[in-house]
């Protein structure tokens, strides 16, 4: 029997970026890049493991905006065009680099992109089908995230806002997967005591916190972060293991900085002759990443050597072995102090794997195979597995926290973004007011009220204040926030003044088409 458990958790999320009003959208490109570089390679990993009957367990959080975008026909079509264009470029590159040091990597990209096309066709361009397959095979535990990745502790001034962020996410999950989500990834691991009440009401059985969210709980948890705790409501909180996080996350000490790994910051979109790449960058002639990157990190200077895929694969295997070894060591050590097998929770942003850390998915596959076959100390589990095995846990009140810089709410509440909360709180109050004023409605009025709820939810996305705080693409975040708030305000005014502009509302419905089945009256029940 295993002496301890490892829970690998991947959180996949992108803000809702759908811009039919533009021919080309840099923000939609976030989605296409993530699909091609992260989600598809992860799907390959799971396919390989399932085909080889490897009995692994892994937790995957798919945020509601991401699910919606996966299933959206318009974005699927645009993603197809994006991929076709990239295949065209990759083909050209194989000819151009023939006989040179970049021929190897160029061939690699050509193969990968064609394989991507096959995979996408296989799943009818809807990645939910793929993830669902692995879930049904008993390998993935798929959980959800708040409706638009709202930063719950800062919305909590009006609990209805938090309640609907949770309820709308649960409804959408049920629509795609046919049952309630077992757990929820709280956006940014952001928690404040009391939020668990709304999780419980919606049948959510567990969530994740950063280490200090559990460590600083009151009363003090006996097993620290090495066992989950129950909130007084009975919802379980799992704390992030610091040591395993650091090995992967840290840009300085983590695996992804290895010199044999692919260099992210050298891309032919920037390196090659302008006229040559012109058709594959921004239509206004702005150079952007194409994803075709031929160098390895090489060293700490700007001097870069060509990428050698075989070396990188070798390193990914070595690093997986090292990670495994450290977890075994950690668990053996912890066994001295615990009356039950310790649990190590290792959560990562899914977008780290493949996009920034190109070899991340390979590393994950090696790690899973090694864990399953090469040792008997550590067993892979999901939170539900753990709770089945260990249904008795300590009751504590976790500490308000997040996994952002400094561990609390400062990233999402600072000089560059604090102004948004005035609007968000007003919006939530008005939405509750609308829901109470219109307990029943028909036709266009009903559609307008539902759209008001969608616009408010979209404005609540934690991505906007986050981007404002980081300082890149701020204009876009400000524009998105103001647009959704302004749409909400417009609908509120039109509804209360009985002068609905039907065409305008219909236009919003068609463009901001997230949560098609939302019922605004959910705000009245809070």
């Amino acid at each position: 029997m295993a002496k301890g458990y490892l829970a690998l958790v991947l959180h996949a999320h992108l803000p809702f970026v759908r811009h039919p009003e533009h021919q080309y959208s840099l923000e939609e490109k976030w989605l296409y890049e993530a699909v091609l570089e992260c989600y598809i390679p992860l799907i390959w990993v799971f396919e390989n493991l399932v085909n080889d009957s490897v009995p692994f367990r892994l937790t995957l959080s798919l945020s509601p905006p991401l699910l919606t975008m996966f299933a959206d026909g318009f974005l699927q079509q645009r993603c197809r065009n994006y991929l076709n264009k990239l295949i065209e470029l990759a083909d050209k590159e194989v000819h151009r680099t023939n006989g040179g040091p970049f021929y190897g990597p160029a061939r690699m990209y050509q193969d990968r992109l064609r394989r991507t096309q096959n995979t996408m066709n296989h799943y009818n361009w809807n990645l939910i089908e793929a993830f669902k397959k692995f879930k049904e095979a008993g390998r993935l535990e798929i959980i959800t995230c708040a409706a638009t990745h709202g930063y719950l502790p800062l919305l909590f001034v009006n609990p209805a806002a938090v309640k609907v962020q949770i309820a709308a996410a649960v409804d959408l999950y049920r629509k795609f997967f046919g049952h309630n989500p077992p757990g929820m990834w709280l956006p940014e691991c952001a928690y404040a005591p009391g939020i668990d009440l709304y999780l419980k009401e919606n049948g959510i059985r567990f969530f994740f916190l950063d280490s200090h969210g559990v460590l600083f709980a009151s009363h003090r948890p006996r097993f620290g972060i090495y066992a989950p705790v129950f909130c007084p409501t009975g919802v379980a909180a799992f704390g992030r293991d610091i040591e395993s996080s650091k090995q992967v996350w840290s840009a300085k000490e983590g695996y992804p900085g290895d010199f044999d790994y692919r260099e992210y910051y050298r891309d032919i979109g920037f390196d090659e002759d302008f006229n040559y790449v012109r058709d594959y960058i921004h239509p206004d002639g702005i150079r952007v990443n194409t994803g075709l990157k031929y160098f390895r990190i090489t060293g700490r200077t700007n001097h870069k050597e060509p990428y050698v895929p075989e070396w990188a694969t070798q390193k990914a295997a070595t690093h997986a072995g090292n990670f495994m070894f450290n977890r075994e060591h950690q668990i053996r050590y912890l066994n001295h102090f615990m009356d039950r097998p310790p649990l190590l929770v290792a959560p990562y942003d899914a977008e780290l794997f493949g996009h920034w850390w190109f070899e991340g998915p390979q590393w994950l596959e090696f790690l899973i195979r090694k864990t399953v076959y090469d040792q008997d100390i550590v067993e892979l589990v999901t939170p539900s597995d753990y709770l089945r095995l260990h249904p008795c846990n300590q009751v504590v009140t976790p500490c308000a926290s997040s996994w952002g810089n400094k561990g609390y709410h400062e990233v999402w509440l600072c000089g560059s973004n604090d102004w948004v909360y005035r609007h968000l709180h007003w919006g939530a109050d008005r939405m509750v007011e609308l829901a109470q004023r219109f307990p029943g409605s028909e036709g266009m009025l009903r559609r307008a009220l539902n759209q008001a709820a969608r616009e408010l939810l979209l404005a609540q996305s934690s991505d906007w204040p986050f981007i404002m705080a980081t300082g890149t693409m701020v204009d876009y975040a400000v524009r998105r926030f103001k647009t959704h708030m302004s749409n909400f305000k417009g609908i509120y005014q039109q509804v209360t003044e009985c002068r609905l502009e039907d065409d305008w509302v219909a236009d919003l419905e068609s463009r901001h088409n997230i949560f098609p089945d939302i019922d605004y009256r959910v705000y009245a029940e809070a």
């Binding site: 001034v157 040591e243 840009a251 996009h355 008795c392 308000a400 609390y408 709180h425 693409m473």
Partner: protein, 316 residues
Amino acid sequence: MEVFAWMIGIALLAIATAVYLWSSRRPVKKMLPPAPPVTDVEFGMDLSPETPLPQSKPAPYTPELPRRYGRDQMALLARDPYWLFAYWEISATKQEEFSSRYGPEAWHTSRPVLRLYDITGVDFKGNNANTYVDIAVNEEADNWYMEVGQPNRSFCVDLGRILSTGQFVTLLRSNIAHTPRASLSERFDEEWMWLEGVYRSLLRYHFGLSSPLLLEEISARMGKEFIPVGISSPVGLPIGISSPGVSSVGISSLIGVPERPSPRREPERVVVAAPESLQKGFPAPVGLPEGMILPAGLPKGAAKATRPKPRRKKGV
């Protein structure tokens, strides 16, 4: 002569063309890949594109939001264990009410003040706060950061005006905000819950289980001096409480705190933990009773039992 002028003209044209071509090519050639990050950041948001939008194109339309919504509103948010943020808005009606009650000149002769109440463990009725402090704000201000320097306490803030008589008049009252903890809890008694609604309290030994690396990491992240807890010591971490950050208002230094308990002591601290466990060093954990296997699955409502009774001292 004419030929000469023509030649100059052509030469100038050629130079101009050359300059134009050179300058139009230049930015393209100059375009470098984005610099790699130098700091040890996590890779969270690397999907954001690396290029700004074109300057030449008019920026897409961004609607403006109102600065105020014409309502009376005040909200208080805890940013971290040490800082609070408040924003507010006073309606014209509110202002008129004030003027009709205290006189037409009262608004101008009074000054705006935030009165921040520490209401930890109190059912706040407006006059029963543990302590309070007044923070002068600008007439135009509609939001404020407040350094309280006190984790794990409850606060509420009023926006009011101090009349020329010295009287404080409350205009708005915020919600209650609670600063998060910044250290391990000193409450050691334990409560356990069975998922299936069966509850069994276990022994109440406590030991903070933390590897030194783990604490180092936390201390690095929080920028705090963190004293590693020895595995055998269940004593809470003595941590410097006040934040060294730049403050708009350093409240802890402003208040002459009457009878404030030492900030290092937990306000809710209940001394239940058996003191002998402190003496004995690291106690061996005791597992669940054998054969205590419960049905799996999830509860509709997980039942909670009462607090465990103090453990009787065993004859050693």
